[in-house]
């Protein structure tokens, strides 16, 4: 249908014309391409150990060098990047969906539903969230699902709050009243009239959720409670390099740099979209 056209229109509305957003998108595109292609096409595997070539510096054969088990770091870093990205996107989507659902329900229904959700959000947000992620990963055992579950304990709260505020603000706008007077069903008002107008803030929040999740995952793996070997994410690779930090700092710098580039690129897109929305608000007010 024209959903695709609408989508493209929205994307153009929020991203088009901003050099920063375009640069961010391009960097992100290259990054994703590498994360997808390197594990498939690179001659070295991420897990194959070779004691003869351990701790090598960068060379034409091993672009990022090798780690202490002689594994090729370039392969490992991009493999880990893929894992990190999967975790980031999956948890951002789950959190986003959860947040939009709860926020929209609370904002539109009001009364007790709103009360219930907001109290729950208050309680969850008073928990030091990192603590809970750690506890949960320990209980569920290491692995991608437990990390995602941990990330979803409190990750949706911000999104829910933002959506709730937006929906509440718009619920009393005249166009919502007009829709009700025409006899439009409440669900249709919510989906057709209100949520599309909150698309901007939702998009921004969603974009920022990804680097947040990637960051938290890297951080957990860094603490040693994340993924288990031989699976590797950027965090675990950084953690592995830590014991030899003084001798071979480059083993740590490469994955760190890859991580920072990704977070930076997403931040650029998010910030540009946020600024765009801010400008649009100013114009309409």
């Amino acid at each position: 249908m024209n959903a695709g056209r609408h989508m493209r229109h929205q994307l153009k509305k929020y991203i088009g014309g901003s050099r920063m957003a375009e640069a961010g998108c391009i960097i992100m595109g290259i990054w994703i391409l590498l994360a997808a292609a390197v594990p498939l096409l690179w001659p070295w595997s991420y897990s194959e150990q070779n004691a003869q070539i351990c701790n090598q510096a960068s060379s034409l054969i091993h672009w990022f060098g090798t780690d202490r088990f002689g594994r090729d770091l370039f392969a490992r870093v991009w493999y880990g990047a893929g894992i990190s990205l999967v975790i980031g996107i999956a948890s951002a989507l789950i959190n986003g969906l959860l947040g939009v659902l709860c926020g929209a329900a609370a904002g539109y229904a009001g009364k007790w539903a709103d009360m219930l959700l907001m109290r729950a959000a208050d309680i969850i947000s008073s928990i030091p969230s990192m603590l809970y992620v750690i506890l949960l990963t320990l209980v569920m055992g290491a692995g991608i699902p437990s990390i995602i579950a941990g990330l979803c304990v409190s990750g949706w709260i911000d999104m829910a709050r933002i959506v709730r505020v937006e929906i509440r603000r718009m619920r009393d706008m005249d166009y919502a009243h007009a829709a009700r007077m025409e006899g439009t069903a409440p669900m249709r008002i919510l989906l057709r009239h209100l949520l599309p107008n909150a698309a901007g803030p939702i998009l921004v929040n969603l974009i920022f959720l990804i680097p947040q999740a990637v960051f938290t995952e890297a951080f957990l793996s860094f603490l040693g409670v994340g993924l288990e070997a031989p699976a590797a994410s950027l965090g675990t690779i950084i953690q592995e390099a830590r014991s030899q930090m003084m001798l071979y700092p480059s083993q740590m710098v490469y994955p760190l740099a890859v991580l920072c580039v990704m977070i930076l690129a997403l931040n650029m897109v998010g910030t540009a979209v946020e600024d765009r929305i801010g400008d649009r608000r100013e114009e309409t007010e």
Binding site: M173, A178, A179, G183, T184, H193, T284
Partner: protein
């Protein structure tokens, strides 16, 4: 002696900047060699439609366009010096609310000006600020000083802004639409205040306004601006009684309003009856015991100042709010409220005040209309095919004065007047029997206002729709309506045929309302009278702020401001009395006051 002398002022906005002055689409608001002058102790008006460049001229004189626009001039002098804001010139803006810092007490906002001007100590500044507040007619200035802007009423905020301007001890005050955001009664007060200030302090005043009535009431000389140029200038008498330019004549004609194309009112079958409707709020305007009827095909206007409950009534009728008590009959049947909010199966529709908020920015005009059709289809159970829907949308757009192609455009691509046309089309597409227009014209320019008004009347005549027209603008109300209801403090104080009520008001409040509208006629406007307006209560000590709009528990709501108040007015609410076509709530017309009448006696105005 010339206080302000401006020759050949040119302004060119920097085009790459998106945010310019808020006074409209500033891209076109460029000045081409504008010259004007103000004599000592004189009030000069600068009038024109929005976008004509009058606000830009003011900002340029004050030197507040730095960094936003290129300003050049042949001469600009204020008593021989360059104008310096805060030293020899001061400004009063339209929106007092946004001019005052919301988080700083009003006393400090005045005192800091005095300190910046005189370099004196805090204590002296505070004392002077109290004097100034007293001068601008604020009672109990010491307590008011400690309040925040949002705790004051609109009129009082504008007084505070004027006091802050006076604190600069200026030779010239520039007032940019100083009364536009205010109710008529408060507007009259501010007009008189400005006049008094000019008389007492000897300062000059340059008034920027689009309102010909206000200009007539204040100014002795007038400049008419159009598209960045001075179109015409002269004394007030010249401009108002013998305008040379067609543009000026058009402005005057728009201001005097619009001649009614008498419509409807042949069959007198009531479409909507409201009986003893009551809705009370803690903080918002409530209504109490309101009863009225609207007949098929007629236009009923509701007038009254903000906070009088007009909008609350409209919102109850449209199903946005529910009443506390009372009943609404639609074609003799009790109004049924569905949970989805639509009332009478979509037979009542509404045109809102702000066309920017009334249209969903994510939907094209066509989609918005389609949604309306879909909603109506849901109620009636009739689903239209896609072609039928398209056809209906095209037809209704054309009827509303737009093109069929406009269906694919988003609201932001339309001007305010065009948006209001879309809103009207959306209201009409479901074929309603009653159209509620809640201040539907007040956010539009005079030109767009006239066009939309004639569109509404035309459609009404064609389709025979009844219309509930809500407005605070007595000019408009007088021109459009068959019957009128005047609301004050949540009750309907007077209702009757518009012709009767406007030419011979019976209720003291109606009289006041009509008299405080300044006419675009300097002689008539000079007779403008001030009326007392209740002020928001001062917060005492640390106690919570009383909500000012709460209805008084007993008595006539107008008793406190009424010059004819009787003893019983404060203790008892007057009942509704009917005399012919007129209905009135006032003890002046009670038997107890005027005595028992003989059979054939015809009641006349008691005031």
């Amino acid at each position: 002696m010339k206080v302000l002398d401006v020759q050949g002022l040119c302004v060119q906005y920097h085009t790459e900047k998106k945010n310019q002055s808020k006074a409209g689409d500033a891209g076109s608001e460029t000045l081409h060699g504008v010259s004007f002058s103000v004599e000592e102790g004189e009030i000069v008006g600068l009038v024109g439609e929005s976008g004509s460049g009058k606000s830009t001229a003011m900002l340029a004189v004050m030197g507040l366009l730095k960094g936003k626009a290129e300003v050049s001039f042949e001469r600009m002098s204020l008593c021989g010096e360059a104008p310096v804001p805060g030293r020899n010139a001061a400004m009063v803006f339209q929106d007092a609310q946004s001019c005052l810092n919301p988080t700083v007490k009003v006393g400090r906002q005045i005192a800091e000006t005095i300190r910046a001007r005189r370099g004196c100590g805090r204590k002296e500044a505070r004392e002077r600020a109290e004097e100034l507040l007293d001068q601008v007619g604020i009672h109990n200035p010491r307590l008011r000083m400690k309040q925040y802007p949002f705790e004051l009423s609109g009129g009082m905020r504008q007084r505070v802004v004027i006091a802050a301007a006076l604190a600069c001890e200026p030779k010239l005050i520039i007032a940019d639409e100083p009364t536009t955001a205010l109710d008529v009664a408060v507007q009259a007060q501010i007009i008189l205040l400005l006049k008094r200030i000019v008389r007492e302090t000897g300062t000059s005043l340059l008034l920027v306004s689009h309102d010909m009535g206000v200009t007539a009431a204040l100014c002795s000389r007038v400049y008419v601006m159009r598209q960045g140029r001075i179109a015409e200038y002269g004394t007030a008498e010249e401009i108002f009684y013998s305008p040379r330019e067609a543009y000026t004549r058009r402005l005057l004609r728009d201001a005097k309003g619009f001649r009614r194309l008498s419509a409807g009112g042949k069959e007198r079958r009531p479409l909507l009856e409201i009986r003893y409707l009551t809705k009370e709020f803690d903080t918002m305007e409530g209504i109490r015991d309101v009863s009225l009827e609207i007949f098929e095909g007629e236009t009923f206007a509701l007038a009254g100042e903000s906070g009088s409950g007009k909008t609350t009534l409209a919102r109850i009728l449209s199903g946005i709010l529910t009443e506390d008590s009372g009943e609404i009959l639609y074609r003799g049947e009790r109004l049924e409220r569905k949970r989805s909010g639509s009332v009478c199966g979509g037979k009542i529709q509404m045109v809102f005040q702000d066309p920017y908020a009334a249209l969903n920015p994510c939907l094209t005009a066509g989609q918005a209309l389609e949604e309306a059709l879909r909603g109506a289809g849901r109620i009636s159970g009739k689903e239209l095919t896609r072609e039928e829907r398209r056809e209906r949308i095209g037809a209704v757009l054309e009827q509303a004065g737009l093109r069929r192609e406009d269906a694919d455009r988003y609201p932001r691509e339309f001007s305010g007047g065009q948006r209001q046309r879309i809103c009207i089309a959306r209201a009409l597409i479901t074929e309603p029997e009653l159209l509620i227009c809640d201040e539907a014209l007040s956010s539009l320019d005079a030109g767009a206002r006239e066009q939309i008004l004639s569109l509404l009347l035309e459609i009404q005549k064609e389709r025979g729709i009844a219309c509930l027209f809500i407005s605070h603008d007595m000019h408009v109300v007088r021109q459009v309506s068959d019957r009128i209801g005047v609301m004050y403090g949540g009750s309907l104080v007077e209702a009757g045929r518009t012709k009767d009520v406007c030419s011979d008001p019976w209720h003291p409040y109606t009289k006041q309302l009509i008299e405080s509208v300044p006419e675009p006629d300097p002689l008539k406007a000079a007779k403008l009278k001030s009326v007392p307006v209740t002020e928001t209560p001062v917060r005492e000590g640390r106690g919570s702020l009383l909500s000012p709009k709460k209805l008084p528990p007993v008595g006539c709501p107008f008793a406190g401001r009424c010059g004819y108040a009787l003893e019983c007015c404060a203790s008892e609410a007057p009942g509704s009395r009917r005399f012919g076509s007129r209905e009135i709530r006032c003890f002046l017309y009670s038997e107890a006051h005027s005595g028992k009448r003989s059979e054939g006696y015809e009641m006349t105005s008691q005031i």
